[in-house]
């Protein structure tokens, strides 16, 4: 039996992000539930978030972000043969989101599947796509994180409606042509803790998202910095060399606590949550897209990604700027 010929390494060729038009401020929320701008800013660090229109779907947002990433990569739809959509809020369970998104982007007959690792989904999907390109199962892959959490939030529950939001972010993963080119996606360090499945969940299709905030906060600020440091170690990148740290935008307090423990004071810390809210699997690529737009990140700059969420699931890897 013959096997595929792979690539020595992979890298990210481009990022893209999409946020819905509608801005919801803390004051907007304070008008309907008992909360305040000051309370939300101090506890979760969010000032405003974007919420999708009623008829705007996860696939719509995924197409918008995926199209931008494709354009940024310089590749054409014909170059893509794998599409992974990381989402925990698909419109329907059947069919999956990825095949529809691929067709709408003009990508013909790619391998296409959805991946659910909740807020850890983007790092899981990048790790998966990178490995599939390396072994030769795919030439170039489009990875998208897209979520419409607003449809799973109880808008009268002040503990969750202030946090979650909608959006999409995407990246194109391709091979590094020869040994001389440096790898742009490091080894993924991933894991899960199913014994904490009851900390963030949606009971059934008629229910809303429930989160035990304090337990999640304790877990995130205790368990994740070793995961992040291990991802650096496996990639052979010392935290002091990182140009940026882009954790899942869960809560500003969590992000800042983890950042302190990683020991990379020089790294730019992504704080996209301030104006994007927590968009689950979309938060990391959205934050990265914005960093590139702002010029914070140059090609080859090492960036640490750390994704974590319901499951509990988590994943980290070092990538370099496209």
């Amino acid at each position: 039996m013959r096997l595929t010929e792979g690539a020595p390494a992979t890298r990210i060729l481009g990022f893209g992000g999409y946020q819905p038009v509608k801005v919801v401020t803390n004051d907007d929320l304070a008008a309907t539930v008992e909360t305040s701008d000051e309370w939300i800013r101090s506890r979760v660090g969010i000032v405003s978030r974007r919420i999708a229109a009623e008829d705007e779907t996860v696939a719509d947002m995924a197409v918008a972000a995926g199209g931008k990433a494709l354009a940024a990569s310089g590749l054409s739809p014909a170059d893509i043969d794998l599409v992974i959509v990381a989402t925990c809020t698909p419109e329907v369970m059947i069919p999956n989101t990825a095949a529809t998104v691929a067709t709408r982007l003009g990508i013909i007959a790619p391998g296409a599947f959805d991946l659910n690792a909740a807020c850890a989904g983007f790092s899981y999907a990048i790790g998966t796509a990178s490995d599939l390109v390396r072994v030769g199962s795919s030439r170039n892959a489009l990875v998208i994180g897209a979520e419409k959490l607003s449809q799973w939030v109880d808008w009268t529950d002040r503990s969750t409606c202030i946090i979650f939001a909608d959006g999409a972010g995407a990246a194109v993963v391709g091979p590094v042509a020869d040994e001389a080119d440096r790898p742009g996606i490091g080894p993924v360090v991933w894991g899960s803790a199913g014994d904490m499945a009851d900390k963030i969940y949606i009971k059934d299709r008629n229910s809303f998202i429930i989160q035990e905030g304090q337990a999640v906060f304790r877990w995130a600020t205790t368990a994740l910095h070793p995961v992040a440091r291990l991802a650096c170690e496996r990639a052979g990148v010392d935290p002091s060399q990182l140009k940026a740290f882009v954790p899942h935008q869960a809560n500003l307090r969590i992000i800042e606590a983890i950042a302190r423990k990683i020991g990379a004071p020089q790294a730019i810390l992504a704080t996209d949550i301030v104006h994007a809210g927590n968009t689950s699997s979309a938060s990391i690529p959205l934050a990265l897209s914005r960093m590139i737009e702002r010029g914070d990140l140059s090609s080859g700059d090492p960036v640490l990604l750390l994704a974590f969420g319901a499951g509990i699931s988590y994943a980290a890897q070092v990538i370099t700027g496209p």
């Binding site: 506890r43 906060f217 600020t221």
Partner: protein
Amino acid sequence: MTDEEILAGLGEIVDEVAGVPADQVTPDKSFVDDLDIDSLSMVEIAVAAQDKFGVEIPDDQLKNLKTVQDVVDYVRNAGVSA
């Protein structure tokens, strides 16, 4: 560990987590009312206390620890029984 040692260690933790100067962390102070420390910072303090003192303070115990002295007592007693 003496109460003074626990208090000094706790002062360092509160300074690091919440930016409250260690010399303000005196036994009679209430975390919420006097030191302006919220529930998430209390979790961070508990996590740091575990690293420093080797004493686990679970979330369900945390809500009973209202003053600095409460934490000193908890750490001392847990340390004895451990």
